[in-house]
Symmetry: C2
Subunit: 372 residues, 2 copies
């Protein structure tokens, strides 16, 4: 129903709507010249109990850019394509950013089609069932450049008191699985010096992940998951399985964080008698955005007299994969309390307008006015 | 079936068997004088997948003491009663040490009778069904003194290379529930200085419980249970619920450990922005054994030329409650790897023999020989 509504709005704005073999929906506004398009792209899918802004804002603001150009009778040299990428959140069909990734060549079509939801239903079958299984030739582009406008989903702009952020890139992310093997014992009759308490050792790694990230400019580090065994009040935990998540704009720094954590783990293992195994099972490399495009967004902010700052995105976005198709940039707007993926997600109408105006000016510049 | 077998063995050893209103089974060997009895008491119930020694050893060694007195034609002034307490482990009917506690006046009879297992079956009904619901006048005693022989369930004697331990008492235990409330956030877009990570704060308390116990002679401290929420890799835990278990022979020291932890929690809360609530929901006071009785066991070890050491029991035992009925003492034997409540539980025949001989000599002394 959301797709149908978006489609009708796109058509009302004069866009020519098509959808491709992954259901990605594109509304095209022709240009005067035979040039690759400017994409204004985000997603309208969400998470369970999610908010109204994450994703949808970027698509609807792009549509509003088109309407504004229409209202002012502005014709551009490049075509402009408003794109709604399918399944960015990856909530129903894992992984996230599935269909921008597919168009960017990151995932095989058969892989995407065979993704199943929790009820065992296939992606391809479900897309066909709702009438949005289209053709490969309907994919977005060919594209010269892409812009994605999105809520920040973090507290940086709010803390700085700024409505808009200029995104320098998407940080690299690395995920670790850490297993600590000590010895399960009665909490009572086991003297402290004879213990091999896996949770006490794990606590040093939790503190270590936090301290390493704090000591590294621009880094974040999180232990989100930690499970002691047997996890009962009067038993010394013999085993802990925990995660670590490090993020940084620079891959070498990310590698250093992991190396330092491994070094700490070796020390903890020696001192505690608890065996520690670290498995770095996934890394997403940093994606810096092209400086020229970042400068284009900076200029738009300046032309609007908008106070803004540069920042890196700590979360993944479709822009990460689109970057491999064409130069891509992102604009953030302030999120109240940094909250997202929750019904309380909120950005003020003023901030949303400011972000959309930045998108408008940058789009106008990148698509090239054909009016005079 | 275990009860029937024990009963037949008791009768074969010439004991007069009776069972009381809680199913506690007593095999009485008369004395020459009209004196309160010496109890030799433990339990034959166990835990799921438990071992062969925890509990049963103390009852069977007591039976062997009787057989040995019989074999040598030794008559005592006091009667000797071999006691099998019902439901020491508390696995089927909570809480633990239910029926020694009932006889000691710690639990009302109606409370005990209405305990239900996981299938909703009542204690009283189940005891009647197996034919072991007896009368109040069949309770053990009246008793002058009680000895309990038990495996150590800890690694102290093994680490010291000693077969037998003289137990000075049962430590006090206090249990805390600790709740930490921070803020759940995306692991990506949340800069380190703006976080309120409940798990990082919890890690400081885990380390604190360990450090406080290590810095306090004779104390142990354990965080056995810790549950972060939402417990997923890419989300900062907004909430942690964890336990703490402190044990020490002295109640004032136990109180101090809690006070120090509360002080640490206040510091952590201030520094991290994470609210911390501590609920000290249960305390079992320390139970020191009477020095005269401890000395009796020491003498038996010395008469046997047995290397031994004093230690406190870190776990609860029936002796804790029996202490309120009559002076009570305990003897420990070495446990391989300190293991118990597991099928791998093991004490060597040599150590088991040594412990039983200590029980024999102490019993002989306490019951008073009537032979010469």
């Amino acid at each position: 129903m959301g797709r149908d509504l978006l489609r009708s709005w796109m058509e009302q704005a004069g866009l020519i709507v098509r959808f491709d073999d992954f259901g990605n929906m594109t509304g095209r506004r022709p240009g005067t010249d035979d040039l690759p398009a400017l994409l204004l792209a985000s997603h309208i899918d969400s998470v369970c109990n999610g908010g109204r802004y994450d994703g949808a804002y970027g698509v609807l603001a792009a549509l509003e850019v088109v309407r504004t150009l229409n209202d002012h009778g502005i014709v551009t040299r490049r075509p402009i394509e408003v794109v709604n990428w399918t399944n960015e959140e990856g909530v129903r069909f894992e992984p996230a950013m599935l269909c921008s990734g597919a168009v960017a060549g990151r995932f095989e079509r058969s892989y995407v089609y065979d993704r199943v939801d929790r009820d065992g239903r296939r992606f391809e079958d479900e897309l066909r069932a709702i009438g949005y299984l289209g053709n490969e030739q309907n994919r977005p582009g060919p594209a010269a450049v892409c812009l994605e406008l999105h809520i920040e989903q973090g507290p940086i702009l709010e803390a700085a008191g700024l409505p808009v952020g200029i995104v320098d890139g998407i940080v690299g992310i690395t995920w670790l699985d850490i297993t600590l093997d000590g010895r399960t014992d009665h909490a009572g009759p086991s003297p402290m010096p004879l213990r091999r308490d896996a949770l006490v050792a794990a606590a040093r790694l939790v503190a270590g992940v936090d301290a390493l990230a704090r000591a590294t400019e621009g880094a974040v580090g999180t232990v989100g998951r930690l499970i002691p065994e047997p996890n009962v009040i009067n038993t010394i935990p013999g085993r802990v399985v925990m995660s670590a998540d490090f993020r940084h704009p620079d891959l070498a720094t990310l590698d250093q964080l992991v190396t330092k954590l491994e070094r700490l783990a070796a020390t903890v293992a020696t001192e505690s008698g608890v065996a520690i195994a670290i498995d770095r099972f996934w890394t997403s490399e940093p994606t810096p955005f092209p400086p020229a495009l970042v400068g284009e967004i900076e200029r738009a902010c300046s032309d609007l007299d908008l106070a803004s700052q540069h920042l890196w995105s700590g979360a993944g976005h479709d822009a990460k994969y689109v970057q491999t198709l064409c130069p891509t940039g992102m604009i953030f707007v302030r999120s109240r309390d940094g909250l997202s993926h929750a019904e309380g997600e909120y950005s003020s109408p003023e901030d949303l307008t400011a972000g959309a105006n930045v998108l408008l000016l940058a789009a106008h510049s990148l698509a090239g006015s054909a009016n005079q």
